[in-house]
C-alpha cells in the first residue's frame, strides 16, 4: 500500500503499543513515540493482574465482561507473558456474607467462571492463607508481565513496518487550519535505539492522524492544542515481596478498600494497593505509611507477610477518566472503563483522537476500537487480527520442556529463561560462546542480556525490564556491574559508565521504602560492595574517562599457578 496513511501514536504503554501493533497489522504506516522506555508510564508501575473481571463483577459489570473476554484472548496470544495462576476471593469471618453472594452472582452474570470453595480447600491450594478464612470464590485470574507484553507488541508492530521511538518526547502538536497535522518530538539521543551520550535533536513528524495514548498524561498533550481532557490521575502503592508466599492471586472479598490483593509475579509476590487522587502524574508524595498499612492489612489474609522480606515498593498512577457530567468525589467510584475522545466531534479539532481510562487487561480491545475508528476516518476496510495472531514469543509454544536441556543451563535457570523468552528461546539461547549466568537471583544468562541489548541499545533499564536481571533479592547488588560489562565492546567506556549509573540509581530508588530487616542488610552489603570494589561512592574517573593506555601490561613472565597447589580452604597453599 503506497498511500497508507501515516499515524503517530503518542505513548509507549500497553495502550499505545497495542494500537501501534493493530494499525501496523492493518497496513497503516505507524510511528510510535514514547518519552522514556517502553512501559515508562503506568504500564511499568501496575500490579500485573490479568483480571478475570471478578474485581468488577459487582460494581462495574461492563468492565467485568470486557475483562473476561480479553483474559481469554491474552492467554492465547500472549501465552509467554501470562501465568494462569487462578485467583481467589477470600472471605474472612468479619466480611459480609451478602457481598460474597453478590460477588458470586455478579461473576455468573458476567460469564466469569466462579466456584465456591471451603476455607479448607483454599488452604490446601495456598498453605500460607490465614487459618480463619471462611471460604472463597475461585476465578480465572492470572498474572501478566507488562514489560514483556509491551515489548512483544512493539516488536510485532515493528515487524509490520512501524517505527518505534523511545526516549522521544512529544513537545508540541503541529496544528494547521484547525487540524492536527503532526507532532514535534525531542529525541534524547538521536533516533533508533537508545545510546547514552549520543546527542539528540528535535524532529517534526508530519502525519495524517495522531493518537494520544498517554494515559495519565493525556491532559498535557491536550493542553498543547488547547484541549481540555479531564484525566484524574489516582495513585496506588505496590510492595514487592522477596519470594512468592502465594501461587494464586488472593483478593479480599470486600466491596472496596485499600490493600486487598496479592498477585504472584514471577519470583515475587506483589501486594496492592491504594487509590488516591493526585494532581501531577509525575510528582506526588510516596509515603512509608502507605507501605506499612498495606502489610498490616494484607497480613490478615496471609499472616506470614508480617515477617517476610520486601525488596522494594513503587507507586503508579491510574489514568482515570470520567465524562465531565458525572462528578465522582472518590476516585474508587470512577469507572475503570475506557473512553475514546474524538476531538473533531468533541472539540472541532480534526486529526486527533485520545484514548483514556481503561485497564491493562483490556489494552487490546482498546487498541481495536481505536484502530477501527482510525480506519473509519480513512475509509480503510481492514479486519482486526490482534485477537488471533500470537505475539512474538507466543507462537507455537508447546515444547517448553524439550527446549531446556539443549541450552546446557541448570534446570531452574533454563526453565525461567524459556518462560520469559517463549518461542524465541531457541533463537536467543542457542549460542556458541560461553553463556554464564549474569543475574543469579532471576536466573538470567549472558545470551538473554545480549539479546536485550540488541533490542534496546545501551539502556540497561530497558535490558532489565526485558530480562528481569537485577530485579531479584539483591536488587542488582551483585549484577549491575556485570550487566554493564555486557555493553562492552559494543559501547565505549563512558557510555557504559553512564548506563551503569542510571541502572544503579533506579535500583536504589525503589528500595527506599524497604530498608528494614533483611533488605536493609542487603542494602548495606550492596553499598559496601559497590563503594569498596567499584568506587561507586566517589569515583575519581567520574568526569574524565580513564586513559587505559597509561597502564603498563603487567610483569612479563607471570607464573601460572598450577591446579595441584590449590588448597581446600580456598587459598593457594605454599608460596
Amino acid at each position: 500500500m503506497t498511500s497508507a496513511p501515516h499515524i503517530a501514536v503518542i505513548g509507549g504503554g500497553s495502550t499505545g503499543t497495542g494500537i501501534a501493533r493493530d494499525l501496523a497489522m492493518r497496513g497503516l504506516d505507524v510511528t510510535l513515540v514514547e518519552q522514556g522506555n517502553l512501559t515508562h508510564g503506568t504500564t511499568g508501575r501496575m500490579h500485573g493482574l490479568l483480571h478475570s473481571g471478578g474485581r468488577y463483577a459487582v460494581s462495574d459489570q461492563a468492565s467485568a465482561e470486557e475483562c473476561i473476554e480479553e483474559n481469554r484472548v491474552l492467554r492465547d496470544i500472549a501465552s509467554h507473558c501470562v501465568e494462569m495462576t487462578g485467583g481467589l476471593f477470600v472471605k474472612r469471618p468479619e466480611d459480609s456474607e451478602e457481598y460474597f453472594q453478590k460477588k458470586l452472582s455478579g461473576c455468573e452474570a458476567c460469564g466469569i467462571p466462579a466456584e465456591v470453595i471451603s476455607g479448607e480447600e483454599a488452604r490446601k491450594m495456598e498453605p500460607h492463607l490465614a487459618t480463619d478464612i471462611d471460604k472463597a470464590i475461585s476465578v480465572p485470574d492470572g498474572a501478566v508481565d507488562p514489560f514483556r507484553l509491551v515489548v512483544a507488541n512493539a516488536a510485532s508492530a515493528q515487524e509490520h513496518g512501524a517505527r518505534i521511538e523511545t526516549h522521544s518526547k512529544v513537545t508540541d502538536l503541529l496544528v494547521e487550519d484547525g487540524e492536527v497535522v503532526g507532532v514535534e518530538v525531542e529525541h534524547d539521543s538521536g533516533t533508533g535505539e537508545r545510546v547514552h551520550g549520543r546527542t539528540g535533536g528535535t524532529e517534526e513528524i508530519r502525519t495524517d492522524y495522531v493518537v494520544n495514548a498517554t494515559g495519565a498524561w493525556a491532559g498535557r498533550i491536550g493542553d498543547m492544542a488547547g484541549l481540555d481532557i479531564e484525566v484524574r490521575p489516582s495513585k496506588g502503592v505496590m510492595t514487592i515481596m522477596n519470594v512468592r508466599q502465594v501461587d494464586t492471586v488472593i483478593n479480599r472479598c470486600k466491596p472496596k478498600g485499600d490493600a486487598d490483593i496479592i498477585v504472584p509475579h514471577e519470583t515475587t509476590a506483589i501486594l496492592g494497593t491504594t487509590d488516591e487522587e493526585v494532581d501531577d502524574p509525575e510528582d506526588y508524595p510516596e509515603k512509608q505509611w502507605e507501605v506499612d498499612m498495606m502489610i498490616d492489612t494484607l497480613k490478615e489474609l496471609v499472616p506470614m507477610l508480617d515477617e517476610a522480606r520486601t525488596i522494594r515498593s513503587f507507586w503508579g498512577v491510574r489514568p482515570l477518566y470520567e465524562p465531565p457530567d458525572v462528578g465522582s468525589d472518590d476516585p474508587t467510584d470512577i469507572t475503570r472503563d475506557y473512553f475514546l475522545l474524538d476531538h473533531e466531534e468533541r472539540d472541532s479539532l480534526g486529526g486527533m483522537v485520545s484514548i483514556v481510562g481503561g485497564k491493562f487487561t483490556t489494552y487490546r480491545m482498546m487498541g481495536e476500537e481505536i484502530s477501527d475508528h482510525v480506519c473509519g476516518k480513512f475509509g480503510i476496510d481492514a479486519d482486526c487480527r490482534t485477537a488471533d495472531v500470537p505475539l512474538p514469543g507466543s507462537e507455537d509454544f508447546t515444547v517448553l520442556r524439550d527446549y531446556m536441556d539443549e541450552f546446557g543451563l541448570q534446570s531452574p535457570i533454563g526453565r525461567r529463561s524459556v518462560e520469559r523468552l517463549g518461542s524465541r528461546a531457541e533463537e536467543v539461547l542457542q549460542t556458541d560462546g560461553p553463556n554464564p549466568v549474569v543475574c543469579g537471583c532471576e536466573g538470567v544468562t549472558r545470551a538473554e542480556i545480549q539479546d536485550a541489548i540488541e533490542g534496546s541499545g545501551s539502556d540497561l533499564n530497558a535490558v532489565r525490564l526485558r530480562t528481569r536481571a537485577s530485579m531479584g533479592n539483591c536488587q542488582g547488588g551483585f549484577c549491575c556491574h556485570r550487566m554493564a560489562n555486557e555493553l562492552h565492546t559494543e559501547y565505549d567506556e563512558s557510555t557504559t559508565r553512564a548506563a551503569w549509573d542510571e541502572l544503579l540509581q533506579e535500583r536504589w530508588k525503589g528500595q527506599r521504602h524497604a530498608l528494614w530487616g533483611e533488605q536493609l542488610s542487603q542494602a548495606m552489603l550492596n553499598y559496601a560492595l559497590q563503594a569498596t570494589t567499584q568506587n561507586r561512592d566517589n569515583d575519581p574517573a567520574e568526569d574524565d574517562s580513564i586513559d587505559f593506555a597509561a597502564f603498563d601490561s603487567g610483569p612479563e613472565d607471570v607464573e601460572v599457578v598450577s591446579d595441584a597447589s590449590v588448597a581446600a580452604d580456598g587459598g593457594y597453599d605454599g608460596n
Partner: protein, 456 residues
C-alpha cells in the same frame, strides 16, 4: 518484620534454621515443604560458596548458594519445576550451614531438593539409583555381613569382586571396605547384662564417687551402625565412660540415623528409619533419658535434620534432648578436672592428629577433643585444621567422586603428616576411613582415649 541479627550463639536445643521462618508442610503427611521463604534470609554474600569443599575442587558444581536459596526462590509452583541434577554432587557436609552469617536453612534446602530430585526425576532403574540406595542403606549390608563377618571381610575386599563392583555399580575399588567385628556392640551389650547390668555398675560408680546412689542419671545410647558392626570398641568405651560417671545406659532399638540417606536423597528410606528411631527415643526421653550419640553425624541427624525434614510425633522433644557423647559429659560433669588427675599409659599413650568432622563443627563441637586432652599426662593432641576430610559418608565411595574426595582431603592428609602424632583421632566413622586411607594411620575415637584415661 525481622531483623537479620548477628548469628545467634550455637544453641544445641534449636537448630539454626533462620529466625522466624517456619517452613510450611504443603501436604500434611508428605515431606514436601515450601522452603521458598527461607530465601528471605539470603543476601547473596556467597560466604557459603567460598566454604564449600566440593565447589573448591569441582568446577561444574554451582555451589550451595545456587543449590539452596537461589534454586528455591526460582521454583514456582509445586509441580513441574525440575530440581537441577547438580544437587546430587553436594556431599552434604553441611559446612554451608555453619558458614552462613544470616541463618539461611541451606542444608535443609539441599536435602529437600535432593529428595525431590531422587523421587521425581531420577530413574528407579538406573545404576546410580541402586548404587546410591545400597550405599545409603549401609545398615542392611552391615547387618548381613555381621552374620558371617570373616567371610564378609574377605569377600568384600576380594579383588575381582571389587572390580565387578566398580564396573557395574560405580563403587570405587580404590578404597578398602572397613572390617566387620566378630562380635557386634549389641551382642557384647547383651552379654554384659544389658540395662540391668548397667544400672548396677552405675550405682556402684555413684557410691564410689560419693554421689546419691539413686541419682537420676540415665542416658539412651544411639550407637549408630558403625560402632555396632565395625568399631564396637567405641560403643564399649561409651558405656564404660558413662558408667564411670555414674550414668545408667540403655541401648534402645534403633535403625540407621539416616545421614547417608539424606546425602543421597533417599528421603523415604530416611523417614522410615527416623520414625523407628524417634519412636523408641521419644518414650525414653519422656521418662527422663537423654539421647547420646558417639557419631557426630548421628547426633546431627537426630537434633537438626529430623525436625527440619520430618513432621513426626515427638521429633522436637527428641531433637532437644540429643547430645554428642563428649559434649554431654562436658555439660554435666567436670571432665577436665578428672582428666587433670589422670595419666594415660599403655596402648593409647600416644600423640594424636585430631580432625574435627564437618558435622561436629556444625554443632559447635570442633574444639572439644583438643580442649579435653591437650593437658592430659601421657598424651598429645594436635588439631589438623578446619578443612573437610572429603569423604562425606558415601560421597567418597562413588567412583566418579573418588578423585574429588581425595583432592578435598589433600589438605587434611598433609596436615596430618606434618603433625607430631602418627595416630589419627576423630568422632566421625567415615572421616576416620578417609584419614586412614590417606595416611595409613590408625584412627581412634575420643571416647577410647577418655576410657583409657579414666576407667580403671
Amino acid at each position: 518484620m525481622s531483623d537479620a541479627e548477628s548469628p545467634p550463639e550455637f544453641d544445641p536445643e534449636a537448630p539454626n534454621t533462620g529466625e522466624d521462618f517456619e517452613p510450611v508442610d504443603v501436604f500434611p503427611d508428605s515431606d514436601d515443604f515450601d522452603l521458598r521463604p527461607g530465601a528471605d534470609s539470603c543476601y547473596k554474600c556467597s560466604t557459603c560458596d567460598t566454604n564449600c569443599p566440593v565447589a573448591e575442587v569441582d568446577d561444574e558444581f554451582p555451589g550451595p548458594k545456587f543449590q539452596g536459596p537461589e534454586q528455591w526462590r526460582l521454583k514456582q509452583s509445586e509441580e513441574d519445576y525440575d530440581v537441577d541434577d547438580s544437587v546430587m554432587d553436594c556431599s552434604n557436609c553441611m559446612r554451608c550451614d555453619n558458614a552462613c552469617p544470616s541463618g539461611v536453612p541451606l542444608s535443609q534446602m539441599h536435602n529437600t531438593a535432593r529428595g525431590e530430585y531422587v523421587s521425581e526425576q531420577m530413574s528407579k532403574f538406573s545404576v546410580e539409583y541402586w548404587r546410591n540406595r545400597i550405599l545409603s542403606n549401609y545398615r542392611t549390608s552391615a547387618w548381613l555381613a555381621s552374620k558371617m563377618p570373616r567371610v564378609a571381610n574377605a569377600a568384600m575386599n576380594f579383588g575381582p569382586a571389587r572390580w565387578v563392583m566398580e564396573k557395574t555399580m560405580g563403587i570405587t575399588s580404590e578404597r578398602e571396605f572397613p572390617a566387620f567385628a566378630t562380635e557386634t556392640f549389641r551382642e557384647w551389650w547383651r552379654a554384659e547384662g544389658g540395662a540391668a547390668g548397667s544400672r548396677e555398675r552405675a550405682v556402684a560408680s555413684r557410691e564410689r564417687r560419693g554421689e546419691d546412689p539413686d541419682a537420676d542419671k540415665k542416658v539412651a545410647y544411639f550407637h549408630g551402625c558403625y560402632s555396632n558392626y565395625n568399631t564396637p570398641e567405641v560403643g564399649k568405651a561409651m558405656v564404660r565412660v558413662y558408667e564411670h560417671f555414674g550414668y545408667e545406659v540403655v541401648v534402645p532399638e534403633q535403625k540407621c540415623s539416616g545421614t547417608p540417606m539424606f546425602a543421597n536423597g533417599m528421603l523415604d528410606d530416611a523417614r522410615r528409619h527416623a520414625e523407628a528411631n524417634i519412636s523408641s527415643m521419644a518414650d525414653l526421653v519422656e521418662q527422663g533419658y537423654d539421647a547420646i550419640a558417639s557419631c557426630t553425624s548421628c547426633s546431627m541427624a537426630l537434633r537438626q535434620e529430623y525436625p527440619e525434614l520430618f513432621d513426626i510425633d515427638g521429633v522436637d522433644e527428641v531433637s532437644s534432648h540429643t547430645f554428642e557423647s563428649l559434649e554431654y559429659l562436658r555439660i554435666h560433669e567436670d571432665v577436665r578436672d578428672e582428666l587433670g588427675a589422670a595419666d594415660v599409659d599403655g596402648e593409647l599413650a600416644r600423640e594424636f592428629a585430631y580432625h574435627a568432622p564437618c558435622h561436629a563443627r556444625n554443632q559447635g563441637l570442633n574444639n572439644q577433643a583438643v580442649e579435653l586432652f591437650r593437658d592430659v599426662e601421657g598424651v598429645g593432641i594436635e588439631d589438623v585444621g578446619d578443612s573437610c576430610s572429603g569423604i562425606s559418608g558415601t560421597y567418597g565411595w562413588k567412583s566418579e567422586k573418588y578423585d574429588k574426595s581425595m583432592e578435598i582431603g589433600a589438605e587434611m592428609f598433609e596436615h596430618m603428616e606434618d603433625a607430631d602424632g602418627k595416630t589419627g583421632m576423630t568422632e566421625c566413622p567415615t572421616c576416620a576411613m578417609q584419614m586412614e586411607h590417606g595416611t595409613g594411620y590408625d584412627i581412634r575415637h575420643p571416647l577410647e582415649l577418655l576410657e583409657a584415661a579414666l576407667v580403671e
